[in-house]
Symmetry: C2
Subunit: 160 residues, 2 copies
């Protein structure tokens, strides 16, 4: 039998960032705090996300097929925190934060240190509680060189 305590502890030793993944489908917008994020190809540049199957962001990702990975600076934990739950939005604000629209129309947080905008290439149901979403990078922006927010910075956990 697997030692569940060791499993949780070992999995929690994988270092993660804390980003905000913003999504849009039609005129509906949402975002979530995303840690299960990694690049998965250089050429073409692609990233993979683990995204909870149930939930509004999953639904918008599946329908809209676009997302923006908003990279936060290490002092921006309070921005990520706003996206722990579905958020309110207007044409110019999401969760009370200003955003613009990227080339795909997906929302880009104005306060992000950097962003990577993607078109969804594939969504894989892996038989777990999250799907693996693979996106091809179609645009990116870099506002400022700052240490990125990490799970370790925040003391939050998402893993185990």
């Amino acid at each position: 039998m697997m030692d569940e305590k060791a499993r949780r502890a070992a999995l929690r030793k994988i270092p993660y960032g804390v980003t905000v993944v913003t999504v849009r489908a039609g005129d509906r917008v949402n975002g979530f705090a995303g840690s299960w994020v990694s690049q998965c190809s250089f050429s073409p540049p692609m990233i993979m996300l683990g995204v909870k199957r149930a939930g509004l962001s999953y639904e918008l990702l599946d329908q809209g097929r676009i997302f923006v990975l908003n990279v936060l600076g290490k002092d921006q934990a309070e921005i990520a925190e706003k996206f722990f739950h579905p958020v309110e939005y207007t044409d110019s604000q999401i969760a009370g934060l200003a955003y613009s629209r990227g080339v795909t129309g997906a929302p880009i947080l104005k306060d992000a240190a950097a962003y990577v905008e993607c078109e969804v290439e594939r969504i894989f149901n892996i038989g777990g509680d999250h799907d693996v979403v693979v996106g091809r990078v179609v645009d990116a922006g870099f506002d400022r060189d700052e240490e990125p927010l990490t799970l370790a910075n925040t003391g939050w956990q998402y893993g185990g």
Copy 2:
């Protein structure tokens, strides 16, 4: 046109660990330094890896369908460095480092701070230079509570 410089800079802001992923197929053993690693399901616990399509480790992963994610402590960069290229191995050592065999037979580095042993569930060709390998956690061990080695610790880059 996408700003390639911004794209590289933004992608490099995603925080990563540096782990050693060890693989085995039959009596062949190898390992590689892996950063594109993330959990992708809680229940059942699964992890996803971006693995370069060409290469011995990919071949062994594809054939053996097992791997171990060896989590290193922050002062163990020199261990990861040994796995930048294919390594020599015996029944008890890989790249000159002692290993044991996990429940699947995959090698576990004795010096790892923690490890997660997986059976390969799926290998997805995503049309890039890496495949997405999804593994189901079948065993794990936790040796000591140590800050994990990160790409930021080492100053190496794998992303952009």
